[in-house]
């Protein structure tokens, strides 16, 4: 489904601000994989997402999405196959436009000069009702009036309106209160499961990283330290994960030390 081969990225090369964000990263996702990604700040998680989505061109390597090499494809073209949510709930919808208009944009379809049909509006209503937030009765209100949680739920709906081949969730519940975060997470799970979507989700919540999905990646210093799936992942606790994290970071450091000495 998604294959990353030897992806590297260094920002500001040759300056004092040089920052190596990804180093020779390889990753393969199968169709229907729901992968959670954990790692400390600066580990390269968001950079990995940016590379997949096409926000920048990686220095080395190639990205193959659904059998097609998309390494050189601009971001907006890839976005047809990739749905994306950010931590900031304000980032995924246009506040000055109505809920209906935002959904119409997300739905795409039709020609550039086509209007939104009645049937489509009815479909939007049904989809909104799934959120159970009463938004289906507020379709003509501007999105700017919604709360952060409602906006993030709406963004999730928009990103999955046309089922994407790949869904990238970048800590999409981190800015929400615990109750709302739980709701949005449950919604995410049901949408991903029902659509059979392939999904990558960054989270700082170790327990949800283990509970959700079928695979967990641990990143550090621009590479994947641990790739947990199948029997190795089952029955794993947060403590196990933390211990593994420390051990592996130590090992990586030792490796570096060996290389440098």
């Amino acid at each position: 489904m998604l294959t990353l081969k030897n992806i590297s990225k260094t920002f500001n090369p040759g300056t004092v601000n040089e920052k190596t964000a990804l180093t020779g990263l390889d990753l393969h996702l199968d169709k229907g994989d729901f992968v959670t990604v954990i790692g400390a700040n600066g580990a390269g998680k968001s950079t990995l997402f940016n590379a997949i989505a096409g926000s920048f061109l990686p220095d080395t390597g190639s990205i193959i999405l659904d059998g097609q090499d998309v390494t050189f494809q601009p971001e907006f073209k890839r976005a047809k196959a990739i749905g994306r949510l950010f931590q900031d709930p304000m980032r995924g919808s246009a506040p000055g436009m109505t809920i209906e208009e935002n959904l119409a944009l997300a739905a795409g379809g039709g020609g550039w000069l086509s209007h939104v049909s009645k049937a489509e509006k009815a479909a939007f209503r049904d989809r909104l009702a799934l959120l159970d937030m009463g938004l289906e009765d507020r379709m003509r209100q501007p999105v700017g009036l919604l709360s952060g949680g409602q906006r993030q739920a709406l963004t999730l709906l928009m990103a999955t309106m046309v089922p994407p081949k790949l869904l990238l969730l970048d800590e999409h519940t981190a800015a929400l209160d615990p109750g709302t975060a739980e709701k949005v997470l449950a919604l995410t799970e049901s949408i991903v499961r029902e659509g059979g979507l392939t999904c990558l989700m960054i989270t700082h919540n170790m327990s949800s990283a283990l509970e959700l999905g079928n695979r967990t990646l641990m990143m550090d210093a621009g590479r994947i330290l641990l790739d947990l799936k199948g029997p190795r992942r089952e029955g794993l606790t947060v403590d196990d994960l933390l211990r593994m994290f420390k051990e592996n970071v130590g090992k990586a450091l030792d490796n570096d030390r060996m290389l440098l000495s």
Partner: protein, 309 residues
């Protein structure tokens, strides 16, 4: 002052307001929707005026309208390419195009900075002879811009609800969202600026033809005047449907001209127009800002009094 003289003044204000409101509608699209402050407006307005005049003088009064609009599209396209594909800041792109258009405009007028259309058949004189024996005789100066404004409002109301129109609005409303979506912001910005500048060109063309002359300064300060009208309109009709808001900015343009006409009656010299429009823009933008600062100021004053800080 007699009633008929007053009506005469009001009619002039209405004609000018309607003609220039086409530029206001252009800014409604580029400034309010696309969130691009298009500073090439002055030059584009003059370009529409010169191209329209030259085509009309050549004997094609009706062709002058599509020609002026086409010239506007071209100008908007250049501005858009500069800011979307060449890494030039959007304000600077407008200024550069505006400067370049000065030479282009004089070139269009054949090296002169003034063209006279006293004996030219224009859209206005054409309609005048058509209306000669009807009850509407003599109202062509009002009817032409009125029809144009109605058509543009209808177009905008329909266009901004299409998928392309929604994409243009989203580009202005949340660029972050658009950048990570399947909308190509380069495309939407380009289309938006082309369409907006077509209206600016049309506006210039109609003003020149109704005045029966065009000079190189016809568009100078137009962007500020149009912004002032836009902001006046938005304070009255800032919310609601696109059609209502578009009609609102036309209303703003007419109000602006009426106020200006009244000010002229009180012996304000005509050269004050541009200073007045500048002040209106400052007040309209700074006003809401100071309003948000007011509670802070009030608490500070109250606090320093009571707590002796």
């Amino acid at each position: 002052m007699s009633l008929s003289a007053m009506w005469g003044l009001a009619q002039t204000a209405l004609e000018l307001g309607l003609t220039c409101s086409l530029t206001v509608l252009a800014l409604f699209l580029s400034y309010s929707m696309l969130n691009v402050c298009d500073l090439s407006t002055d030059g584009c307005f003059t370009l529409g005026a010169t191209v329209g005049a030259v085509v009309a003088i050549a004997g094609h009064p009706w062709l002058s309208i599509p020609a002026a609009m086409g010239a506007g599209v071209l100008s908007g396209f250049v501005t858009a390419v500069l800011q979307t594909r060449m890494g030039i800041d959007s304000l600077l792109a407008g200024i550069i195009v505006n400067t370049g258009l000065y030479s282009v405009n004089i070139a269009v007028m054949g090296g002169s900075s003034l063209l006279n259309m006293n004996k030219t058949v224009t859209v206005f004189t054409g309609l005048k002879s058509l209306l000669a024996d009807t009850p509407l005789a003599g109202t062509q100066d009002l009817i032409v811009p009125f029809i144009a404004v109605i058509l543009v409002i209808v177009f905008l109301a329909l266009f901004l609800r299409t998928r392309l129109g929604l994409a243009i609005r989203a580009t202005g409303n949340n660029p972050d969202m658009v950048r990570s979506s399947s909308i190509n912001p380069i495309f939407t910005t380009t289309v938006g600026l082309c369409v907006a500048n077509a209206f600016t060109g049309l506006s210039g063309c109609l003003l020149a033809q109704s005045q029966k002359s065009v000079n190189i300064d016809i568009g100078s300060g137009m962007v500020t005047i149009a912004l002032a009208s836009l902001l006046i309109g938005q304070t009255f009709f800032g919310k609601g449907s696109i059609a209502k808001r578009a009609a609102g900015v036309v209303f703003g343009s007419i109000i602006f001209r009426l106020v200006y006409t009244i000010a002229l009656r009180f012996n304000m010299p005509a050269f004050m127009l541009k200073l007045v429009s500048s002040v209106i823009v400052i007040v309209a933008i700074a006003g809401p800002y100071f309003k948000t600062q007011l509670p802070l100021l009030r608490r500070r004053l109250a606090g320093s009094g009571k707590e002796g800080r």
